[in-house]
Symmetry: C3
Subunit: 335 residues, 3 copies
């Protein structure tokens, strides 16, 4: 498969919607394989076969498309795909449609967007909508905690995880967490976690947002299968919908966060799902995170900025993102 990179006619916003794609400037027309099919006025010496679209690496992982612009794509992609597809396949991405997309521009470097995504230390303070369904215990716990009530909650959360995971595994929805965030080039972490209250979906009332369940799901309470990849994507799979995120750098201090909400392709808006209810939690959570990213960017830009340590208990995945990034830079720099 080829990228929509057409000589100087290239438009980053224009993508093939039909079998062939025509560039907006001079109507050079390409096939889905990237071959230049038609270019008017170029004369008899013009060799169309030399002017196809450049090839880039694109892979489907259980329906999620991963793109790599490097000359060589990561050798261990298949290893990640083999593991993750096992978890994702039962949600049947190919049987979904995109119900909604929001592009949010955050006023910060893309690494701040990812650092923010890789910890939930900030969740209880900033995310009232998200914490209606997710448990903060899933993101690390204070070993020095001595409040008996909190310790009891934490222990009961661990019991719930054991119990839910066993049940999901039996029913064909793998759940055990597997993480290779900084020991693979295709760094990732995947795992299924129970959610709070009704525990069905990441909605304000924690119930499903869409009546048509996905893929093999027959039960509403399938928890949150979260899939995080290095360097710039994350995904939540539930029984009724999927939310998928990509952070795309626009400049050193601006980042585009593209979020898509997927539901069963036969689900009908207004009947099977209410769009506002479907998108509310992550739409608001993204805005809240974008504000934090902007503050972190502004803070780090100040002459008096001094870096501090991460929390060992709740920010280990931030540490792993940084490790991964430093390793990739080192590989790029060479020995």
């Amino acid at each position: 498969m080829s990228a929509a990179t057409a000589r100087r006619d290239w438009s980053p916003r224009k993508r093939p919607r039909s079998a062939v794609w025509s560039a907006p400037y001079h109507a050079w027309t390409y096939g889905l394989d990237g071959a230049l099919l038609y270019a008017e006025h170029m004369g008899s010496d013009f060799d169309r076969t030399c002017h196809g679209l450049p090839k880039i690496h694109v892979r489907s992982l259980a329906g999620l498309l991963f793109v790599c612009f490097a000359d060589e794509s990561p050798a261990d992609f298949d290893e990640m795909a083999r593991v993750a597809a096992h978890y994702i396949a039962p949600h049947n991405v190919a049987g979904c449609k995109v119900a909604h997309q929001i592009d949010l521009i955050e006023e910060g470097n893309w690494k701040l967007t990812i650092e923010n995504n890789r910890e939930c230390y900030h969740c209880s303070l900033s995310h009232p909508e998200l914490t209606a369904s997710i448990f903060e215990y899933g993101f690390g716990f204070d070993a020095e905690e001595n409040d008996p009530a909190r310790i009891a909650q934490w222990q009961s959360y661990d019991v719930m995880v054991e119990c839910c995971c066993a049940s999901w595994d039996r029913n064909g929805f793998p759940s055990r967490e597997i993480g290779h965030l900084d020991d693979m080039v295709s760094g990732f972490r995947i795992g299924r976690m129970p959610m709070d209250k009704d525990g069905e979906s990441q909605t304000l009332d924690t119930k499903i947002a869409c009546r048509k369940l996905l893929g093999q799901a027959t039960e509403k309470r399938l928890g949150d299968l979260s899939f995080h990849t290095q360097p710039n994507s994350w995904h939540h799979f539930m029984s009724d919908h999927i939310v998928t995120f990509a952070a795309l750098p626009l400049s050193p201090d601006r980042t585009l966060l593209r979020t898509k909400w997927l539901v069963h392709r036969d689900a009908i808006e207004g009947i099977d799902y209410d769009l506002d209810n479907l998108v509310q939690v992550w739409r608001e959570t993204n805005i809240q995170d974008g504000r934090l990213v902007g503050l972190a960017q502004a803070g780090a830009a100040v002459a008096g900025y001094v870096p501090g340590p991460y929390s060992l208990q709740t920010e280990s995945q931030v540490e792993k993102f940084v490790n991964w990034y430093v390793q990739r830079l080192a590989a790029l720099a060479g020995p």
Copy 2:
């Protein structure tokens, strides 16, 4: 004549409207020859003669003003002027008024604005208003064309050009194309071309937009006298109005396109011309071109951008603009 460059009082937007000009900050006041006439509070030791406005090169070509900021202006300007004045003078620019001006900011480098102006390969796809009057045949034809209908159209266009030009020449409106786009410092191309349908003017209905004809014109069908200059202006002269364009770089990736519509100075808006009808074609065409320039800028800024060849048949004037620019850079760099 002098530029409005007044010490730190200089304002690029403020131009002399009367015999003298006063700077907006401290009211230093200058004559039309640039001499400092008045500066309050500067004491007896202050020598006004040392603080006049700097001289720049300004020349009138049949009423069009050309400005040059270089220390030495092009030695061959007179050669261009002698040729072009012969074509332009019958339209009597000095007898016109500016009926309208639009400043459009394009999100691209100024050279992309000019490249876009120097080819009509993109016209049929992007310019429904402009192609109501102009013929695409005037901008190059596909030598491999084998559609008999198109070949017949092209041949009949050539006959029309011969016939129209002979008539215009006889009536004192020179028409034969002369081009020195990359073999002179004052690079230019000038020529008169017939237009489609009623063929009177660059309007949607191809009829004149202003009832008062310009200068020596007694006939409405004088075609389109187009005058292109390196590096940054172009002009269309018709029987009833003139449209004149200047591309001014604002930054490496932004360009101001200033467009002026001129009509007979005695023409009255609402009676002799309808302003919207007068400006519609180029107002819309500029917006369409600005969008293409923005796409080209965005495309060229992408890491994967690969330059491609120009069309020999329809983009030869783009090639000549690039040649001219490279020659000027080489001259600047020295041997």
Copy 3:
């Protein structure tokens, strides 16, 4: 006292409002002395005493707060403070409240904002509201003036200054001008000047804007105590209100001008003062100056820009600002 600089949680817009301050990202909580009081999830090895807010230099001068981010604050601050406090104290800044604040972004380098502030050569041309109350004679006079009417005005102004200052000094409101604009690191100029017409305040009608007089004031006509400091603040103290200005660089070509209007803390809006009448003069004057700063920035950015001399009679304080700045740069560069 400590700055609100909290690790990566730092937000330049968030300032302590209560005895402790909590950072918006991870809720690290600080005391007013900058000590880190609370940080969740950081583990037992985490030493809170190593992560307090960095100290910066803050000094109060009769209620005006001066901040210095350098490692060493100016050694001669106390010398400036000792002199200036004597003038300012009778206005009792501590007994005031901020009635209004306007943040204006000027499209120019901060030094242009200050240069504009340090001369009134431009006032008669640009500031109709401000010149209702201030005398241009207070900012230098043309020694070559030969208009008898203007000379008479100037002489009568000098008599008025002598007369007013003697009266103010007797009543405990020091007035004689003292200036150390370029012979101290803490460069400043302070002095009290009479105002025009009713002469009470910098308002359109030159009468007080607030009925509750400040501090020890019993008389409305206390003139304008102006206090200018290097590099970036100025202040006007009147019998009824204070206006205080700080120019803060945002980038090389953008400056934030923050202006605050202070009135007696017991004054009630709508009863003791009309807010629009209070702020009108400087709100409009700032907008006018911002426009001049933008023109000066645009003019200086043009290739043809040539610097010119300052007026010896009305721009000596601009000259002193430049001297001060060059001296500070030289000190930074070292021998």
